[in-house]
Symmetry: C2
Subunit: 193 residues, 2 copies
């Protein structure tokens, strides 16, 4: 790994005395929420953990992560369940269709949660889906409460609900300081999608 610099005397391998699953929430209005979740997926793959990513409200615009997971020699699955962001300009689908898809995504999340088939379950944009009432608070709280204690659950998206934040172990708010699109720079592959 070290090609430059002098090597450290030894490389430590952390091993927590107590292993436990964490609830991690990544919220806020800045760039880096989904990407942080994808980074945890990558990191978990390095530990040979089994990863499942369920994307809410995504599926209408190609994203690099869809192909990236196929290039990885590890147990990672990505399921995009949506039709794009509900209510944003240019999205042609009515709220009822977005709601139906998000309800399917919640059912799928419950299946994954209880099947014991993954060590890290990422629910991408679920906070947003809750804010837009595509899913209900009770459904999200039920997910958190039935989570097996060793399963890591990561919830991304703006406007995380205070009750979800209250139940989480680690919560980060990604704040926009500046963003290229405000200077009319179009989304760039690899960075923005």
């Amino acid at each position: 790994m070290h090609k430059r610099g002098t090597k450290p005397d030894k490389i430590d391998r952390l091993e927590p005395k107590v292993r436990q699953g964490l609830i991690v929430v990544i919220t806020g209005n800045g760039k880096g929420k989904t990407t942080a979740a994808l980074g945890m997926a990558l990191r978990a793959c390095g530990h040979r953990m089994r990863v499942c990513i369920i994307q809410f409200m995504k599926g209408d615009i190609y994203a690099g992560e869809w192909d990236a997971v196929r290039q990885m020699d590890c147990d990672i699955e990505l399921i995009a369940t949506g039709k794009g962001f509900c209510g944003i300009q240019g999205n042609p689908y009515p709220w009822t269709e977005h709601r139906a898809n998000a309800q399917d995504a919640i059912d799928l999340a419950n299946e994954k949660l209880t099947a014991g088939c993954c060590d890290l379950l990422i629910l991408d944009e679920i906070n947003n889906a809750l804010k837009l009432k595509l899913i209900d608070l009770d459904q999200v709280l039920a997910l958190l409460q039935t989570r097996p204690p060793m399963l890591h659950l990561v919830l991304t998206g703006r406007d995380a609900h205070p009750e979800v934040v209250a139940l989480a172990d680690t919560v980060s708010e990604v704040r926009e300081i500046k963003h290229a699109y405000r200077r009319d720079i179009e989304p760039q592959p690899g960075i923005d999608y």
Copy 2:
């Protein structure tokens, strides 16, 4: 990709009219900076872009991403150049050794920048290294100014320098709302390292 929900009528592939490299800074005191950079690496791999990750001040503690990049069938390289976080409790190396390693890392970053061998160059914890005076502001500004216009450059770490922020296209601050370690939960593999 869609296993649940009804599919959208079509999947769009965004293609910016103008392609350009972006300077992205991920700073702040919360969890998710390195992971967001790793997520961009993953996403870029999906687009078949060439990725190089240089980690400053890391190399003494195993991290999942070191093995994850080896499991990926794509052009991604990760080089950990350091001996851990300079000045934190338990780190036995003097500032001069950390500085020497960070100087090697900067040389390497300059080589990668000018060699045209990658489309996305991630300089992980470089903000931190600058703050700790392991590298100099002039060195970082020189990197930003000599960047080929199509290269994406991502700089992570707390305490990003205002002059670096000023030159960046997109800047996010990851704020800690809560963190498991404050409740004495040890770092967990796949999530924290």
